[in-house]
Symmetry: C2
Subunit: 339 residues, 2 copies
DNA sequence: TAAGATTACGCAAACGTTTGATAACTGCGT
DNA sequence: ACGCAGTTATCAAACGTTTGCGTAATCTTA
């Protein structure tokens, strides 16, 4: 059988007209007569003609494809985000080429290579928690392919990004705890490579300052988000000379692990020890032990914004490269309290 | 700056050799001398040359791209699945073009259109819960693009698919409950469009038969997976003349909604009323109310298998189309008990 | 009715590759 | 000096589109 996909050429031959006429007819070009136009369109319909995107892309040097690289879809944060991305991408006629780095730098680089080969028109990326070198991003810049960073943004200048205001979120979180009379607040923070980690710390400091309280850096521990390192951090906090009555964790997953550990140490979570965290997973209300509050980061919205930004960058490509403009969007976060 | 991406042509010009020589040199073709070969490769390196996949795809009529259409990534089942797909896709040099149907048929069709335009080499799809007409699939068949259905498979002949053995999983689930002396077991099943729904019902029947018990069809209710319809089904079961002591639900989400409803009716979940379901979400152990057992469907593995199947289909494309062969893989499911 | 304007179409180049057929060099034996 | 086999490199067509430019054919209009 192997019916070959019909081409514009085929249609032209059958109708005994030129290729260009067919092309124009299908695009409703004014210079084509109504008769031939309908003739062409009918035949195209009948043959199930579909333009070959490859040929078009080659011709136009544009693939109508957006690359998206995320650490992993298993975190609902990212799967929501990609939904947002996909939505506005599709609305604007783009398709999404997706890849997961699984927090592995090599994979991240490799994915970027593939995407460059596939000539994605632009890239949206949330970097690995271990990414420290940034040459591979320069690559894209050189190739003049716009990149939008998203949520996990690298510590570089001259980049486009959308992120969530973690600083203000943290201030809200800490203030909430302070208002509830907590005075010793521990923090299980993330990997130092992430700006979001620094922001959390800063937020903590600023919140304390605002309330004319002293910030105790020994109450802040970093972890690499693995279960083991969370346990370790929790353990250190629990055996701290100033034993905290509340802990702010990097995200809900960290909180869950920390709570698990604390429970095993016979600590009554949510009574002796409160947790506040980030992300605000949709399952939170269904959990047995849950953080009493969590900073909502609106991943879907972030995804939308990122895609929108990218689409705009693509549309104003020339002007932007001349002006060396960079877009930054910081969307507000909110503390959601789970009574 | 707008540095144009270097092409093979550019390299040829700079080195004063022909285009074809460059192409061959980069492919290590034997008919190119070592001298020129290294010369070319060095320059290519220096210029950060990347072959233009569009041109290659056009030439070879192959895009090295796999289309994946899923109902939605928010369900962890599907996000695991796509991870499995991506893994083996990448291992075999393919990239993944992704789309979510959000259980909307129109979107599903539209996505298939785009993917066809983009000339994906093959498609992996888990259909919408509402998909009843199948012409759009025939389209792909005609175009000779292999399709692998996955988990949610349509009721058609002559298709490739990988799915999970829901029948045996259901038998295990029901048997488990019977062994625990439950005699009145309700079932909140899914939409009738899905084969998996029929399988669940069959499994229920067969398990009863095996134990020489009578199957009561009035204890089985369908729902469309929405919260409201779950509530409704639960309500009907709770007011049934034979009030069940255990309920088997279509999946964990349905179970959660049903439990929520039951709790509101002052029923003590997991004491007066047990739940058994499917999917076995990773969060299950952390939930406040959870099904006492859930049928694990190994989504990651299913994804891997599906991608593997597709890759094989692609490799043996000619032979297969001649022989009209179709692959089917049914992987085993297991009942996981959450003590 | 000839000049100009308009309408409807065709030509051919270009996008960046790959690849079968072909040609130009090299060295060698005679 | 000549042919001959390697070895190495070039030519040109093809993949399926889009689009600027050119040109018949038809239509106005004075």
């Amino acid at each position: 059988m192997a019916e070959k996909q019909p081409t514009i050429k085929e249609i032209a031959k059958r109708l005994n007209i030129s290729i260009s006429t067919v092309s124009r007819a299908l695009h409703n070009h004014p210079s084509i007569g109504l008769k031939t136009k309908t003739l062409v369109q009918q035949l195209a319909q009948k043959l199930d003609y579909e333009p070959n995107q490859m040929a078009i892309s080659l011709q136009q040097r544009k693939t109508f494809t957006l690359g998206v690289i995320l650490p992993g879809l298993s975190e609902s944060f990212f799967s929501s985000a990609i939904s947002g991305i996909e939505e506005v991408a599709n609305m604007n006629g783009y398709t999404v080429l997706m890849g997961q780095s699984h927090d592995d730098i090599e994979r991240e680089k490799q994915l970027m290579e593939t995407m460059k080969k596939h000539r994605v028109d632009g890239l949206i990326i949330s970097i690995t928690k271990n990414t420290k070198t940034f040459e591979h991003f320069e690559f894209f810049k050189k190739a003049n392919i716009p990149v939008v960073f998203f949520d996990r943004i690298p510590d570089m200048n001259d980049i486009n990004y959308v992120a969530c205001n973690i600083l203000s979120g943290t201030i809200k979180a800490i203030s909430y705890l302070l208002k509830a009379r907590h005075r010793v607040i521990g923090m299980i923070n993330g990997p130092k490579t992430l700006v979001a980690t620094a922001e959390r710390r800063d937020g903590y400091m600023q919140a304390m300052q605002k309330n004319r309280l002293k910030f105790d850096p020994s109450l802040v521990f970093n972890c690499d988000l693995s279960k083991e390192s969370v346990y370790e951090a929790t353990q250190k906090l629990l055996s701290h000379s100033r034993k905290p009555t509340a802990i702010v964790t990097f995200n809900d997953y960290v909180a869950m692990d920390a709570m698990h550990y604390a429970t095993q140490q016979n600590i009554c979570v949510n009574k002796d020890l409160l947790f506040v965290s980030y992300v605000n997973l949709p399952m939170l209300p269904h959990l047995k032990f849950r953080p009493i509050a969590s900073v909502e980061q609106y991943p879907f919205k972030q995804g939308q914004k990122a895609a929108q930004m990218l689409v705009e960058l693509l549309q104003n490509k020339i002007e932007n490269t001349e002006r060396q403009m960079h877009y930054k969007i910081i969307i507000d976060s909110d503390l959601v309290i789970h009574a």
